[in-house]
Symmetry: D3
Subunit: 273 residues, 6 copies
């Protein structure tokens, strides 16, 4: 059960309107690694968690927090849209700066939401749940989370680069900090799980299920051998169970890719040769 508090977790006040930046900021609201993604990802992971209260509570703490981040960014976007020159078409014909703002805005901000945030990314594509991950395996999912917080913080840093509004930068400084925390927390949780259960997900696969001859070989499918120089091509593998090796010319073990002729009821082209 959720309850809402009217105050924002952190400041979300720009110094001045900037509808073109509002469009860009949509990325961290409704993009692949925006706040809707992390909020929904954590909540579904939490709801689907089976056992392990300590982890489940961590996930739900973070999921509920991220809902508050969606709120902050939605607020910032709406405020950046104040006084957007959306109906100054006459001036735009003469003043290229106004024209460029009107052309560079997300049209949805003018036509669909009426100066409000949209649940979509910076190119106007609606958020969809195909972005999120909740597999029921905690180590797998914490890796998804670490990735999400890494991609998210990277995008925040890029958005920080491309604004000079101190109010926007203030909010972004908070998001940078929380993403630092979240990266750290998932790294800590991953370490716990790996130490107890091993690094390969899932750790529960019996060894006789696996064609172990192929479990530690780097196969050279891209001409050139630069990749041979890395720590992944020789020496002990991180899982401690094997030695990496490098296969210069990977073999085909599987025979020719051929299928039986089509039966007549699928109405393929009848045999020709």
């Amino acid at each position: 059960m959720f309850s809402h508090k009217k105050e924002l977790q952190f400041h979300a006040k720009p110094e001045r309107p900037d509808p073109v930046y509002a469009k860009k900021l949509q990325e961290i609201l409704g993009g692949q690694f925006g706040e809707i993604s992390v909020a929904m990802q954590y909540l579904f992971q939490g709801w689907n968690a089976r056992g392990d209260e300590k982890y489940k509570d961590l996930i739900m703490d973070t999921g509920a927090e991220e809902m508050g981040h969606v709120e902050m960014i939605a607020t910032m976007i709406a405020r950046l849209l104040d006084d957007a020159p959306i109906n100054e078409q006459e001036k735009a014909a003469e003043d290229p700066v106004i024209g460029s703002i009107m052309g560079g805005m997300n049209p949805h901000h003018a036509i669909v939401s009426g100066l409000g945030a949209m649940p979509e990314n910076s190119t106007g594509v609606p958020w969809n749940a195909g972005y999120i991950v909740a597999s029921g395996n905690m180590l797998a999912d914490f890796r998804a989370n670490l990735n999400a917080e890494s991609q998210g913080r990277l995008q925040v840093a890029r958005l920080y680069e491309i604004t000079d509004d101190p109010g926007v930068k203030d909010m972004l400084s908070f998001l940078l900090a929380r993403d630092t925390m979240h990266q750290n927390q998932w790294i800590a949780a991953i370490k716990e799980l790996e130490e107890k259960r091993g690094t390969t997900v899932p750790s529960t696969v019996p060894s006789d299920w696996e064609a172990t001859d192929f479990s530690y070989s780097l196969m050279n499918f891209s001409e050139g051998e630069e990749s041979k120089k890395g720590s992944w091509a020789s020496g002990k593998a991180p899982d401690g169970n094997g030695e990496f090796d490098y296969v210069k010319k990977p073999k085909a073990h599987g025979g020719k890719q051929e299928l039986k002729p089509a039966p007549s009821y699928v109405h393929g082209t009848p045999p020709l040769d």
Copy 2:
């Protein structure tokens, strides 16, 4: 530039037809973490790589290999569809097993592809590029890769559980092995990058961009304090730059979430109170 060899990388021959299983196997072909996803993810990462030939070659080696995995699974699906009872409607009315197979198949296998694999997941949703990640930051992307290989191997293990066809299990044993390798290789590459550049992505954010007061606090947004017991709530954070702390009652720092009244040109409901 790519070239194709007609032999498969590994065996993909089921012992008997199983169109219901063919539907399920689509998940690791065209699902969120199917082989199309990893192939495209690695190829875009490689093409967008700027510098660092050793890493780029590793990425391209793996991307080209994954194209071959798409091929193996597509082949397996087509073979599982041989002799599917798609036009035995008369028998189905009497024999519930046939009816159940016809109802449990992906209709696309009969109607659209004519007993071939589809570029879609196990519920029939077409693959889309919103699944993939190529950010230009290698540490971020290698974390995405480690996640993808973890989710992928987990799904392969679940698919292994739910078949008893030795030919299918044989192919899955190879995929389990390759996913073991790929998890190991990304762990090794991540370790190299973290050791050189730090664990927080991106490592290039100046500290004065960040509201560092909030960089190491676990905030308790989900009632109950089980999460306080983890390694993420106290002690040195993994990045070595701060100490975790636990915030029992997170504060709202941002003031009430309020916007200015709407201008008349957005045609909101006129003020009422």
Copy 3:
């Protein structure tokens, strides 16, 4: 800012597993009018609200409640999946009931989420934000909300019809009740707004913007005149500003649909006639 309480708003305990029903229940979690839709719709409306605190608070009250409904249904789905016969392929070959359950399940419940809820509808299509509405005009949006609660309660009623599990019915009885409340509340709010500002959205369009000759005519574009009998074809229109009339043979006022020839730089087929 949001906080989460671990207890559910209402019971979500089925009496027995039913993975086929779990698939169907996904509709009211992640479908067009599922709980994710209403939760996100209300939250975006609230965040984008400009002025009118009374309405905004109502919206946020309801939005936060709906997040709790997502949680209840996600929990119910996970519990319906307990003991699903996902790896009993040998029995399935002989027992058509087991085969029919395995074929009728959502494969994601077995392969992707590991017996957890998915953020998708009953056919396995991921939820997307193209479903939701937050226009900045409250009367328009309350109509969207009334529609959403009407469609939602209709789907709940249909799902009630097709289960005989008392635990599932218990949860659905609560959702039926809350949807009754939510339909009533939006009707009440719509009535307030219509009384103050008129029934036509937006009420702020100056009359000289509108081709008022066409504002009250029912045009007969489908052969047969049954529609002439309704209250929409004659008499005073609900907005009080006009009289309905019925146009038996609608005219074309716009001239032939013709475009200029294509310029050469679009490389159309060169003129032929």
Copy 4:
């Protein structure tokens, strides 16, 4: 069965080209509440209608009309694209107005359709059928229709604000008028149905299916009690069957959200605590 007349229902001739506006106009062609949406929504409602010829004919009249609106807007978009400066890249480098037009256009208008309308919204997202509603319950669907016409007219009004082309305004004046009619007709039809069958959809749910203790309570899930002041928090509810009340501190009735441990065959992380 449908037949087509070559004349347009109303004028669709701009006074001058405006490719940036053409991009925006796509919203009411192929957006969530564009003309494709209402046309398809009404047609599917009509085709699926069971009984009640009067309503079905009304729906089909309107659906066939909306197909003609798609045509008008498609025509307008194509004409706004005449003489778009799509291949004047040399001038653009010097003249920021031309550059701004080229940057502000929908690239599909130049590259994909060759100066024609696209079946997509103002940000270039293809129309999809997840937007439409046809539930088989007429009251529910007429509410969907009233919403669609409200959102649609709102968007038309906003588009009217942001053009000064008299030809475009002429066409929009017609759409404003038709949306006035369509809002009025659905209000009239809703009133008829509500008077005969009650306001709650569906009206056929037996009262013992519903947890009626919860059917008239506004629950305060967002801190602050502004919402208590509305007509939805006390007094008789619009359906005439209950009294609204206000629940200041909503209770959790459902016990802790907990699931059974995962069975080994889903390969979750093995129990850790």
Copy 5:
């Protein structure tokens, strides 16, 4: 402008209910090559046609007809859903045939549309406009149309194979016939255009735009030389402007795929080697 006639273009009456087949029939209603696709494709081509009335009229004739096909199939689906055992869960537990029907249906037919057709394909994915083609070049588009009618008739033939209901077969026999006509008509129209303007689309590319050294070479990127035996590997090319040749070992003309180092403001991983 469109008008609608209440009679269907052809019979659409099944002899008996068949909800599992109704699910499959959705493919030719709302699938990639279903009737919605061809209707919308032709209408957009017609609306965007610039000049050439003869072709435009042909396109609009066919587009309006296809709207009537959508109607026929929607009607057939609704009728196949009559008496579907959607609320016979008790019987289903004992009777595997009923269970198999309930599991094999599209859940939307029961829960969302209330026994009506859905605007989606046979796996429940909503129709989207990314399927259609209207490029402004008639030869290109007629090829798209010939393809669409070929894929469509193929799917109809497969659906004919998998039903034994004479009423369904009757409707499909009409669709087979109309698709025969439509394939023939587009072949005839293509022939006209090719004879006048050449076979290569677009025919208006000046020869000095093209790297003509590469215009007639089959490049052997897939090991094995079977493809060398075809009429595409030697002899005069169909456009009459060149001779096919076969390149056994295709060369790379483009230098190594390398990019400049990333600038610091994109926050990639800092250089490592």
Copy 6:
């Protein structure tokens, strides 16, 4: 199995940065008829091919080549993004040319990919597999291929028109040439198949399945008889099996579109008339 060569198939070096053009070029990378589409389409056709090695090898040759085209265009996009003015917001406020470039870019190029190509089209919509065709019928699929190469070359020609960068034009000249080849090869292959098996797809439908009375009639559903003048309205049809005729007033053969009343368990509006 695939292997990768580091050299590009052809030059992909622009003379100067052009981030606005980079956005447009995305269309032929990740659009409906971009290189990802043709690569995936051919590969799936090849993997699903049953028999006919000569054709399968042709398909795989071309599919593998197209993977190399994805690579070339991805490279070109990344190079066009070098030195994009993404963080020059201060200058942009004064210099409308810079503002127009920043507004006209795809924000993903700055925020998401870090100056790399995205797997999406020119409006930022992710590529999806709903674009591709692999039906198991070769004649049908070769028509899909001819269409894809026609649409693709048309888009390349339009992109050639709207750049004046000699390096970009150089790459496009190669794509124009390869699309000439690919159109020619599919025309040649289609001719072979049509000569052997007839022009109507599928050629295997028994004549008694088809309502042949309707197989050669052009039906006049769009007022006006211009279409009667074409080669598709009289004379021998291309398949050689019938004579075209023109139906001035098409009849409705199917009776009124009516459905049975809804059963109570779908909770429609109860009967009203």
